[in-house]
Symmetry: C2
Subunit: 401 residues, 2 copies
């Protein structure tokens, strides 16, 4: 495994004859990329069709001869394919760095790990930041609106390109968990295990509300220019920073905020009686906003939050969530975090009840932690050991050595 750059796969013969795959490319800033061109184009849920799409991805470990040890890991709203190693833009370690290693939860000596930047993202996959060949400018809002279903359909085509008919597991936290659920519900024959972590089968109105605030903050920034900021040489950094600050508060629990910051002042002994950062929590949030604008595309933020808002498996199955999970051999490993108020344990239990009603095999664990939604990205040993144990047990059952 190379640090931060998976082994380049030789792109296999198309699994579907009706799709052509471009040769694997590697770009220093986004890693591996593949062009995917279904004969009749890539059809979005919105009805839009694009001739071809690109997915950027990383792989870790080695695909076995039976092509049966693939684990697709799906990132959250602002994550990307750099799950481990050094991120080429931020220089930081990947978002699940501690889990991906020889003998780790995602054991690279046993599994072949694939992580794609989602469709609509800004780390090499097709999205609003992609250059439109017709105008030589980024698509911006001319890019079709993307759904979780579109993201997953694109991923299935990458699996075709990689010659992987059936994945050992699809795993993800937060939005990544929505993708994992969509895989299990739409393509149950293509995976053994689905692990939706800190997620929900439908985005709640409160979560839609927080996303809408973020979008309004971006679109209120005059530098957003109806999404054409790049062509016009500007950038809505202030709006995007406010959006990130809002989202960030929802990732933390009240307890974490109390423990981490309380009402402590930032580098001062007394209140300033002004509007600069007095409290550490303000300074921290401003920093989070600033760091984000250096790594993320504002239009992608609009697209991906929209995709999450649209996600509603219950509505897709006429109000009967159990039907979504019915008649499937997929094994579910549902995990929630006790202090997560964005994707609550109640959301997970709702899923689990429907899975049980559908008679599918499901294991559910609520991890006791005060770290809030962010827990899925942090060092929470009980979470890691739960996932580790589940995967190892299933791997032994499936004969993956």
């Amino acid at each position: 495994m190379q640090d931060g750059y998976g082994e380049a796969m030789h792109v296999s013969a198309p699994y579907h004859q009706s799709i052509s795959f471009g040769a694997d490319q590697r770009r220093a800033d986004v890693g591996l990329m593949v062009d995917i061109a279904p004969v009749s184009g890539f059809a979005f849920d919105s009805g839009a069709v694009m001739e071809r799409i690109t997915l950027a991805y990383q792989t870790y470990g080695t695909l076995n001869a039976a092509r049966s040890n693939g684990i697709l890991i799906c990132h959250g709203l602002t994550g990307d394919q750099y799950i481990t190693g050094t991120h080429p833009v931020t220089g930081k370690r990947g978002w699940w760095d501690a889990l991906v290693k020889d003998g780790g939860v995602f054991d690279t000596s046993r599994y072949f790990i694939i992580v794609t930047n989602v469709l609509g993202g800004c780390m090499g996959s097709s999205g609003p930041k992609q250059i439109d060949p017709a105008t030589k400018q980024p698509y911006g809002l001319d890019f079709p609106v993307v759904t979780i279903g579109d993201m997953v359909r694109a991923q299935t085509l990458l699996m075709d390109a990689l010659g992987i008919e059936k994945l050992f597991a699809v795993i993800g936290g937060s939005m990544g968990g929505m993708l994992a659920l969509e895989w299990a519900v739409r393509y149950p024959h293509r995976l053994n295990i689905c692990a939706p972590i800190a997620t929900s089968a439908r985005h709640s109105p409160q979560n839609i509300a927080f996303h809408e605030i973020g979008r309004q903050a971006v679109m209120a920034d005059p530098n957003w220019r109806e999404g054409r900021y790049e062509a016009l040489g500007c950038f809505p950094s202030k709006g995007l920073a406010v959006a990130r600050m809002t989202a960030h508060v929802t990732y933390l629990s009240e307890t974490v905020l109390q423990q981490k910051f309380g009402r402590k002042l930032q580098n001062k002994q007394q209140l300033s009686y002004g509007f600069d950062s007095d409290f550490q929590v303000e300074s921290y949030l401003r920093h989070q906003g600033q760091a984000f604008v250096e790594r993320f595309d504002p239009n992608s933020y609009l697209y991906i939050t929209r995709a999450m808002d649209y996600f509603d498996l219950e509505a897709e199955f006429d109000g009967h969530l159990a039907r979504a999970f019915a008649a499937s051999h997929v094994r579910y490993c549902v995990i929630s975090f006790s202090s997560d108020w964005l994707f609550t344990t109640a959301d997970s239990k709702r899923m689990v009840r429907a899975m049980n009603a559908a008679g599918v095999r499901v294991s559910f664990t609520e991890i006791a932690t005060d770290k809030g939604h962010d827990a899925f990205l942090l060092d929470v040993p009980e979470f890691h050991s739960t996932l580790h144990g589940f995967l190892r047990g299933m791997a032994e059952e499936e004969g993956l050595s």
Copy 2:
């Protein structure tokens, strides 16, 4: 009682000889106003001093001969003196309209109700929107930063002007509850009853975080112009709307959002696959943002949120909250709402524990409701009957007929 305009009080001889009070004025847009000029100026907690301040206020009912039936009601962050009647700007009914009437919770046949716009506000009281005589332009950020302590000190001077040495009660919800607490702790000899509702003895880091997001949204709007928007003929409406949307979500419970909106679409049968309002909750939030910019001053929003952030009775008493309440005859009526996640029942219980530790008389009620923080402004009969009963019992004890 006139609809929306309290009886104009003849301003009494100054209670303190060292303060001069201007004649009572009445302006159609803000109601009653009084100028207050302490001999050595009005000293803010920040150290700033202003020669004179103005408070706008409304009164309802009649002050009795003993001047013992005054109830000061303190508004929340964006409230004002129009607690009942028709608001001169919005045309809507006052924020506690149902409670202020003959025989009501705030029985106008029994009590003399006073409501002031807080110092720093934008409904006639001195604040950043006030015209600076030196420049003939609004003060903007040249107005001193205001604290809850400053707001209350100004109110004590209005009571002096009205000739009220001791109030029967000081009552308020949310920020208004902070003012009520400040009254009881700093001026215990000037009130019998303190009713802090849906509030806290110190603003939490999560609440500071949400306020900071709102301030950043306002200040990120290029039309804010460092607070000089009025002089420059512009208005940061987009930033203020985003600030309001953020705050508004914190006023509602997840349950209310589910019940009121769920994932229902706004005037459409299917998703639009775009960035306009698809969901009712989005449309509702945008409306809340829009309505707010038509009635509130962006700089006042900065000032008042800052005042709440700074509020910390515990810190003011060296980390011993019980000391804040010690050796006082004030009777407390603490009320919280079960689904309020902004000012939680835990916040109220923390206060009540300190009050008990200080040996003061306190009654505490948690009202079971799914309406969230907003419950204090809504028709919640158990809340109203709790407050009504407490006030009537105490009025009988005090001989107020």
